[in-house]
Point group: C2
């Protein structure tokens, strides 16, 4: 059903077959096609999403009306608008599939019940949130540290396979540069 999800859980906490059985009644799997949305601006975020297969992006529309991508999520990553999810308030973000994807959904309402049944999951999610936060602390550093050009070169050399899975204008948006400037950088030194 969702082998990556189960394997991922087992990397951080121990789970019996019975635990997994219980878990299965609290989460569901959802298939979404490329360009479909899990969340749109103005909606309240309903769930925390684990990418079983595929690729998601998080973005918002800025005041100029252009998409600003803030995150991607590949296989084995969690994605959500955690502020909207936590306080159950309308989101400014969109969550959308970049490729046809399978996601494991933990709905907000079910999450508390799930933690009561399987308190060990608090530990798993504590580790996930700490990892995500640690990554975002590093990202702030890179963001300040490097020029846009250096940021681009760094990204391409660190994640070459990922770069092949997304159109160039999405990479530009994620890096916070215009597609025109990215094009210039590639011409200069591909």
């Amino acid at each position: 059903m969702y082998p990556n999800f189960i394997q991922h859980l087992k990397k951080y906490i121990s789970l019996t077959d019975n635990d997994i059985q219980i878990l299965s009644t609290y989460v569901k799997i959802k298939s979404i096609k490329k360009k479909e949305f899990l969340l749109e601006e103005g909606q309240t975020c309903k769930g925390n999403y684990f990418v079983e297969t595929g690729l998601l992006r998080m973005f918002y529309i800025n005041e100029k009306g252009t998409e600003q991508i803030t995150q991607f999520a590949l296989e084995n990553w969690w994605l959500s608008d955690y502020m909207s999810l936590m306080i159950q308030a309308p989101s400014k973000f969109y969550l959308q599939a970049v490729e046809d994807s399978e996601v494991v959904v933990v709905e907000h309402q079910k999450q508390e019940e799930l933690f009561e049944k399987l308190p060990r999951l608090e530990r798993y999610f504590r580790i996930m949130m700490q990892r995500a936060y640690a990554a975002s602390q590093m990202r702030v550093k890179y963001f300040h540290d490097f020029s846009k050009e250096e940021n681009y070169r760094q990204f391409v050399s660190l994640f070459p396979k990922f770069v092949q899975r997304i159109p160039q204008y999405m990479l530009a948006s994620y890096l916070g540069i215009t597609p025109e400037y990215l094009s210039e950088l590639r011409k200069k030194n591909p």
Copy 2:
């Protein structure tokens, strides 16, 4: 001893007097003077720090040799280099007191034992990490969304009292602008 810390915990989880007694054998309080360090570049981060009173900052030295502040932590906030803490590798960051401060220290070695004794703390830290990550998701948005000038005006109007506690060059560093440019912005419209 650390009333803010205990009160903060009790906002998120229930704790008996006995729990608090156990807790007290796993954490310690540390007084640090203005400009003293909790962590310096090259050291491995040894603890997670809760600001009982005072004000801390996190920064690194960039390739031009200037300090780049990435975070501040006021009363009731946690601060650490979570990547260094998690993987116990040398840090690129400094953690320093901006004012004389009292911090509650949860040492990395003790943390796992503490979670075994008081598993409920996993929940508390899960919530703390989720809050921190949610805040950082919003911060990425503001960072992209606003010009440096708008970012400055936003910050000052949201946190006027905080702005009074830090020197201007630290605010400039946090906002990612030069002190000279900040000075110009203030002249234009204070």
